[in-house]
C-alpha cells in the first residue's frame, strides 16, 4: 500500500469529465423518453383482448429482456445502419439500444402496477358506464402509476447505469472521457476512482429517493 495518490492530473481534466457527464445525462434522458411511453404502450397492449397484439407485446418484452445490453449497442451501431441503409451516430444507436431495452422493463413495471389495482375496480367502473378504455385511463392507471413510482425510479437508476456501456462505441460520455484521461495522464487509479465516485453519488441519491417514496 505504498501508492501515492495524485489527483492533480484528474482535477485539471475535471471539465472534460463533467462535459462527459452532460452527455451521459442527455443519453439517459433521451433513452427514458423512448422507454417510458413505449413501456406504457406495451403494458396496455399486453392486457388487451386482441390476442395478436398481446402476443406481439409479449414477444417484444421477451426479446429485449433476454438480449444483452452491450450486444444491442453494438448491433444498433454496426448492424442496424446496414439494415436500414442510413448512417446513425453513436448517440442515437445508444438511445435506441438502451431505450428499447429499457422499454421492456418499464412495461413489466407498468403491468405489475396495473395488476395491483383490484379487479373489483374494473367491475365498478363498468357498472357506472365507463368503457374499458375509460376505465384504464381514469380509474386504473392513476392508481397503478402511484403504486409503481419507486419502481420507476429504480428503472431510471438502471437506465443511467446502462449509459456507461455507450463508451464502447466511443460516445464521449463520462466513462469514455475517463478512459481517455486515464490513458493520457497514466493515472488510472485517480481517474477511475473519481469516475466511480461521481456515478455513486448520482445513483445513490436516486436510489434514496426511490426508497423514500416506497416508505410514503
Amino acid at each position: 500500500m505504498s501508492y501515492e495518490w495524485n489527483f492533480s492530473a484528474v482535477t485539471s481534466a475535471l471539465p472534460i469529465l463533467l462535459g462527459g457527464l452532460v452527455v451521459s445525462l442527455q443519453l439517459a434522458i433521451a433513452a427514458l423518453a423512448v422507454a417510458a411511453p413505449l413501456g406504457l404502450l406495451l403494458a396496455i397492449v399486453r392486457i388487451s383482448r386482441n390476442k395478436l397484439l398481446a402476443g406481439v407485446g409479449t414477444v417484444y418484452v421477451e426479446v429485449f429482456r433476454t438480449a444483452a445490453a452491450l450486444i444491442l449497442i453494438f448491433w444498433f451501431f454496426y448492424a442496424f445502419p446496414i439494415l436500414i441503409g442510413v448512417n446513425i451516430t453513436a448517440f442515437w444507436a445508444a438511445v435506441l439500444a438502451i431505450g428499447l431495452q429499457s422499454a421492456a422493463y418499464f412495461s413489466e413495471a407498468f403491468r405489475s402496477g396495473i395488476a395491483t389495482v383490484h379487479a373489483g375496480q374494473w367491475d365498478a367502473a363498468a357498472s357506472v358506464g365507463l368503457t374499458r378504455r375509460g376505465t384504464l385511463r381514469y380509474v386504473v392507471m392513476p392508481q397503478a402509476i402511484r403504486a409503481i413510482i419507486p419502481v420507476i425510479f429504480l428503472r431510471i437508476v438502471e437506465c443511467f447505469k446502462a449509459t456507461s456501456l455507450a463508451s464502447v462505441i466511443a460516445l464521449p460520455e463520462i466513462t469514455y472521457q475517463a478512459s481517455v484521461i486515464s490513458t493520457t495522464t497514466y493515472r488510472p487509479m485517480e481517474t477511475y476512482t473519481t469516475l466511480a465516485t461521481i456515478y455513486f453519488i448520482l445513483l445513490f441519491s436516486l436510489s434514496r429517493i426511490a426508497a423514500l417514496m416506497e416508505k410514503r
Binding site: M1, Y3, E62, V63, R65, T66, A67, A68, A69, L70, I71, L72, F74, W75, Y78, A79, I82, L83, G85, V157, K161, A162, S164, L165, S167, V168, T175, S179, S182, P188, M189, Y192, T193, L195, A196, Y199, F200, L203, F204, S207
Partner: protein, 220 residues
C-alpha cells in the same frame, strides 16, 4: 436492399461455440458465488447485530449504485496499481460481476425471508418447533416460492452482464463475435447471430426454470 449472407459465418462455428462455452462458464461461476455470498449477506442484514447489518447495507448500496462496467474497469486497471498484482481478465471479470450480482441477489433473499410475517414464527414456536425447525419447515418453503422466480430473473441478468468482460479482452461470446465481425466485415450477420443466441438461449432457459420452479414449489 442488403443481401444477407450467413454462409461466411459457417467456418467460424468453433469460435462462436467456444465463446458460448466461455460465457456459460463465467456465468455459472458468478451465479454460484453470488448465491453463496448472498446467503451470508442476507443473514447479516436480518441478524439484528448492528455492525453486521451495517456491513450488509454498505455492501449492497456500494455495489448496486456503481455501473458494473465501472466496477470491472476499476478492478482490472486500478487494483494492479494499488497492489502491484495484475489479475487476468477472467479473474477480474469474475470478481467484479460477482460483487455486482451479490448485491442484487442478497436483496432478493433478504426481502423473501422478511416477507414472511412474524406471526408464522410465533405459530411455529407455539406448536413446539425449535427456531431452526421453524425456519426449515415453516419459513423457508414459503419464502422460496417468492424468491425463486426473482432469483431466476437475476440469473438471466447476470448472464447478460458477462458480455462486459469483452471490454477487457476476455474471449467470451461478444468478444469472439467482434473478432469475426472485424475479419469478415459482416457486422449485420455476426451481431445478429450473437444477439439471437442470447435471446433464444435465455428465453428457453428462463421458461424452463420458471416452469420447474412452479412444478416443484407450487404457485405463489
Amino acid at each position: 436492399m442488403y443481401k444477407w449472407d450467413f454462409q461466411v459465418l459457417e467456418q467460424y462455428w468453433r469460435v462462436f461455440f467456444e465463446g458460448i462455452i466461455t460465457t456459460f462458464v463465467l456465468s455459472i461461476e458468478v451465479i454460484a458465488t453470488a448465491l453463496v455470498a448472498s446467503i451470508f449477506l442476507a443473514a447479516f442484514r436480518i441478524s439484528r447485530v448492528s455492525i453486521l447489518e451495517w456491513v450488509g447495507v454498505a455492501f449492497v448500496e456500494l455495489f448496486r449504485n456503481v455501473p458494473p462496467l465501472i466496477l470491472l474497469i476499476w478492478i482490472y486497471y486500478c487494483v494492479p496499481v494499488l497492489t502491484g498484482w495484475q489479475a487476468n481478465p477472467h479473474l477480474a471479470a469474475y470478481v467484479a460481476l460477482s460483487l455486482y450480482a451479490t448485491a442484487y441477489t442478497s436483496e432478493i433473499i433478504r426481502a423473501g425471508l422478511q416477507s414472511i410475517g412474524m406471526g408464522q414464527w410465533e405459530a411455529g414456536r407455539s406448536i413446539g418447533l425449535m427456531p431452526p425447525a421453524v425456519f426449515r419447515y415453516v419459513i423457508l418453503p414459503q419464502a422460496m416460492k417468492r424468491m425463486v422466480p426473482a432469483l431466476i430473473n437475476q440469473g438471466i441478468e447476470t448472464v447478460k452482464t458477462t458480455t462486459l468482460a469483452s471490454t477487457i479482452a476476455f474471449a467470451e461470446l461478444l468478444y469472439n463475435t467482434k473478432l469475426i465481425s472485424d475479419i469478415e466485415s459482416r457486422p449485420l450477420e455476426t451481431y445478429t447471430v450473437a444477439c439471437a443466441m442470447f435471446i433464444v438461449t435465455l428465453s428457453l432457459l428462463s421458461w424452463v426454470l420458471l416452469r420447474l420452479s412452479t412444478l416443484t414449489l407450487g404457485r405463489n
